[in-house]
Symmetry: C2
Subunit: 194 residues, 2 copies
């Protein structure tokens, strides 16, 4: 069991509806020492890749992507969430449909900060159905840049996002994959990884 | 002229309406080496304070607050922006009124992450009219915690927020104070600081 899985077992809270609360250390209050370790771990896992940019999405992705960008010595870019707006030609935009919330939002990034020369590592805190991640991939592809990999802190292995990304051929590294949770007992089962 | 003022002169862009765009290095694409230097500088300026938490507000504050929290060795907490919502008793909430946009929003933080024992350094990227900062101060005071200081990357010295915070007795450190900008010539005038 790795350092993040251990921390989730210690401080994560399972709520009804397959909700895993990690807000005491990962996405509301943040333990910087843990985030630094996450940054080092993603750097180790993607050490074979020539990364030029780290891309994430506001808000909770930013603090996870920061130490990754630092470890690679490259700029950090965060995509912004927007209600469907008039795009002025200066941004790349991708639709992010949420079936859960029946909303249709966009993620946008300035064209200045992604180019065809970029080799991008995409980082986010959670992967569940994968809509946000698909939006980030679309932004990179709109810029004719290369998606070198996807780095996720916690993947909900019982939702389809991770499987879909792997089937599409993306190199996806999830530090913790939750295969099941039980809100009554608090039990969390992680998928065995190498 | 300090390192941030130099960077603003080099890469900042003045737009009509007293807009200073720093999105190539500070709040959309982010230069991690610059942010690390900002973290060290705030640590130096508030070295006399016993800080237990760094508080900021999503989204662009997070990447600036990260290296500050790291330098102090304390957790980073970010307040969330919310439309006026039913508060469930588990969060502190403060109104943030924007006269400019004629909107009434809230900032919220979980009660779990601010307590009366906390000595809080509040960090944000910009200070203009000070409404967001006032909201963050209200959250800290709602928790009976202590505001030890306010650290701002760029203060718009021609708007009233900075003066109001200083008049209220808060220790405010702004790394760059812009006293005037000219969108036609691109000129930026900084206030002389010690």
């Amino acid at each position: 069991m790795n350092f993040l899985e251990q921390r989730i077992l210690r401080d994560g809270i399972v709520k009804e509806g397959n909700v895993l609360k990690v807000d005491s250390f990962l996405n509301h209050q943040m333990d910087i020492a843990l985030l630094e370790e996450i940054g080092q771990e993603f750097h180790r896992r993607f050490a074979d890749k020539k990364i030029t940019k780290v891309l994430t999405i506001e808000s909770s992705g930013i603090a996870i992507a920061y130490p990754v960008a630092k470890a690679f010595g490259v700029p950090l870019v965060f995509a912004k969430k927007a209600k469907s707006i008039n795009i002025d030609g200066e941004v790349y935009a991708a639709d992010v449909t949420s079936f859960t919330y029946q909303t249709n939002n966009q993620v946008i990034v300035s064209k200045k900060f992604l180019s065809a020369d970029d080799h991008v590592l995409i980082i986010d805190d959670f992967l569940a159905n994968g809509y946000a991640l698909q939006g980030l991939i679309s932004l990179v592809e709109a810029a004719d840049a290369t998606v070198e990999g996807l780095g996720i802190a916690i993947e909900k292995g019982f939702q389809e996002g991770g499987m879909r990304m792997r089937n599409l051929g993306y190199r996806l590294e999830s530090l913790a994959i939750v295969d099941s949770m039980n809100a009554r007992t608090g039990e969390i089962v992680f998928r065995a990884q190498d």
